[in-house]
Symmetry: C3
Subunit: 308 residues, 3 copies
């Protein structure tokens, strides 16, 4: 099994660990490496990975209640799981989905951005970059089986896959809605979306912080297919079979050709992008609007609990 | 009121005036500065600006008969009006429309290009650049309420806004039709259109000088919405309210991210672009085809007047 | 007649001949120049060119059985024919079609890539580059009248024209299906397609090696129009008349503006692109998958012949 093999071979994770475990001053924090590895098995609390040797397809099920927020812990686990699968030559495809009701992933963990030190904000952002870099450039066929709402970073995760299928429930929404929180999608969020739905749709969607229901998402090209929720996983498997019918090397070179430019752009500007994010997110005005947003979420939650 | 404030503070207009009033050899023509300022109040002959403090939205009504041509005078006024609104922090949105029947703006003033000195042609083109640079990068939400035909530079003006609503009258047309006159859309016209409707649609439209009726313009993405003419302004106000619901700073950073690349490109090549335009437009063959075009317009006009 | 004039003036073909006839070490192979010229008249075995002086439109009919494969001989003739028409100022438009039943062009000649020397592979690739460079940048209006299937390089040929009309026969398909053969579309194939149908459609199409039937091709933008097969040529002539209504110089400058960037990119990297192709195609693993593909084609052909 892929995960076991990877765990046995510690040197199999150099890329990720050197990224995620290095402190902001460049020193490696040995303890966090260890913790990260401990956390990264298939029974970790934040996601389950099932790999079927017979098909070569792994299914990653995100299960970090309440909403699969992209916290530093979550992202660390996500990236380690992804890197292990990536290194297992027998794993050719990955389906990503959620075990939580109604939500795929709610995106960036706003709680972790409120009143947090610049260092911690920087680490979180570095982990978001890492998730995108790994997923968008994955050698595996990646399919998002979007079985719930997927705003912000959750939408980015879906957009970074090769193919997106969404459960046809009109209450689910997907989109890069950063501006509605008073924050801004990074340039590589923007270019990932723009590569999917074009420049003008992206311009309007980002400016207005639009969230699309499944029908709208299909029409606009944000997802490739919508199906009844109980057909989601079988549809994902059928789509995967079509993608896997193409020889890996030809598909991988083609994928790299389509995506390399943005990946190289972020790779070249990674530190500046972190500084830019940290400088923005730690501004008083932005911190204030994030707190307002969190208050609103709490009230909404409370009112739901007391509703008859 | 925004305009009054700006008029009181003459130093509020340095950017524009340094652009528009400098002669081709770089000397400032003091008299033209003065004239431009005189002209720039809200009761100027070429446009009216009404600013509603309660909503933060200004409406600019172009009223330069017969067809709101983009003459040097018109463009100077347009840019000064725009710059004043831009500098008024309380003005968050701008709706641009026309008071003339059947026409939004007919685009570049061909008359000003016929038999004109290279210097004058260059000044006109610099003013067109200035209009686009200001409008495409405006910090305000800009909505074009296109209540009439809008060929060439008129289409560019609409494309430079954040949102376009067109009156649903099948006799109105919109498009970059330069080639049908024997001239060529500049690269920044092309990229503005391409950012809106994509590369292929732009390629065909520019090659064939296509003008679209409202239905076609909607289908192709050249406008975002079409409504009966008597609903145009209320629809524009409703759309504006949606755009203004997003925090300004987040929307502005997002807009800049989407548009900065082309703006920087023209800013860097501005003088070369002027030389290129002047060199082209003053060619004997081009001058001849412009005269042919003007003759055709005159005949068409005459035949309408004598029609029963 | 254009062709006769060009044949009389041998110096009229310097660009092409210097490209195609130079050996890999830069020396000119005089004999191949001669052969190429001999072959290049309008009664050549691989294509017929009919030029109508009264309309200014030439029709090139590809007739290289069984499937108009892009062999080195075919491409050499194609480019010489194209260059001659290009140099004849009276020829303003070109319609490209096939005389073979059911096929427009089957694309790259796989036979010429199997067990072939790197030098020969490089020459073939250089000729494919030349075809694309000439066609994509042609000063003429170019219309593909796609009267049969058009995979791989055949699709590229159609995509390089200004306008594509396809015969509405559901058994015909078009697309860049390289990956299904285990090979990869070059970056300029990719960008030509992407400029036509957008980034995301291209990403999926290339990854999956998709072939579209006429209805799908129309919907996705791969072709501009579909018509019954017996209306194909008259429709192409009508479309041509519309394109020719625009003054040549304005159309040509516009076309160059839309396409120059990719053309310059390949021109700058031409040798590296050849080395890249040769290095890839001569790999053992790729050679093996090409042989498997050829075997499959042979079996399919044999089974058709013996079918009742």
């Amino acid at each position: 099994m892929a995960l076991r093999v990877a765990l046995r071979n510690k040197s199999a994770l150099p890329g990720l660990l050197s990224q995620l475990s290095s402190c902001s001053h460049g020193r490696v924090c040995a303890s966090s490496v260890f913790v990260a590895q401990q956390r990264s098995n298939s029974t970790s609390p934040k996601m389950t990975v099932d790999f079927d040797q017979s098909t070569g397809v792994a299914v990653m099920r995100m299960k970090s209640p309440p909403v699969n927020s992209l916290s530093l812990d979550f992202l660390t686990e996500f990236c380690i799981s992804l890197e292990k699968l990536e290194m297992d030559k027998s794993c050719r495809g990955l389906i990503i989905t959620s075990t939580l009701p109604k939500v795929f992933s709610a995106g960036l963990d706003i709680m972790e951005l409120c009143g947090t030190s610049p260092e911690r904000c920087g680490e979180l952002w570095k982990a978001v970059q890492e998730m995108w870099l790994k997923l968008y450039s994955s050698n595996m066929v990646t399919i998002a089986a979007v079985n719930g709402s997927s705003p912000g970073g959750g939408c980015l995760m879906a957009l970074s896959c090769d193919y997106r299928i969404m459960a046809d429930n009109p209450r689910y929404t997907i989109g890069l809605n950063e501006t509605s929180l008073g924050i801004v999608a990074a340039f590589w969020f923007k270019e990932t979306m723009s590569n999917t739905v074009g420049h003008r749709t992206t311009e309007m969607a980002l400016a207005l912080g639009l969230l699309y229901n499944p029908n709208e998402a299909l029409k606009t090209g944000l997802v490739d297919q919508i199906v009844p929720e109980d057909k989601l996983m079988t549809t994902a498997e059928q789509a995967m079979a079509k993608w896997l019918a193409i020889p890996d090397h030809a598909r991988q070179i083609t994928k790299s050709m389509m995506r390399k430019q943005i990946i190289d752009k972020l790779t070249a500007k990674r530190e500046a992008d972190i500084q830019n994010f940290v400088g923005f997110i730690t501004k008083d005005s932005i911190q204030k609007s994030l707190r307002v947003y969190l208050e609103m979420l709490k009230k909404r939650k409370a009112s739901k609990k007391t509703a008859p």
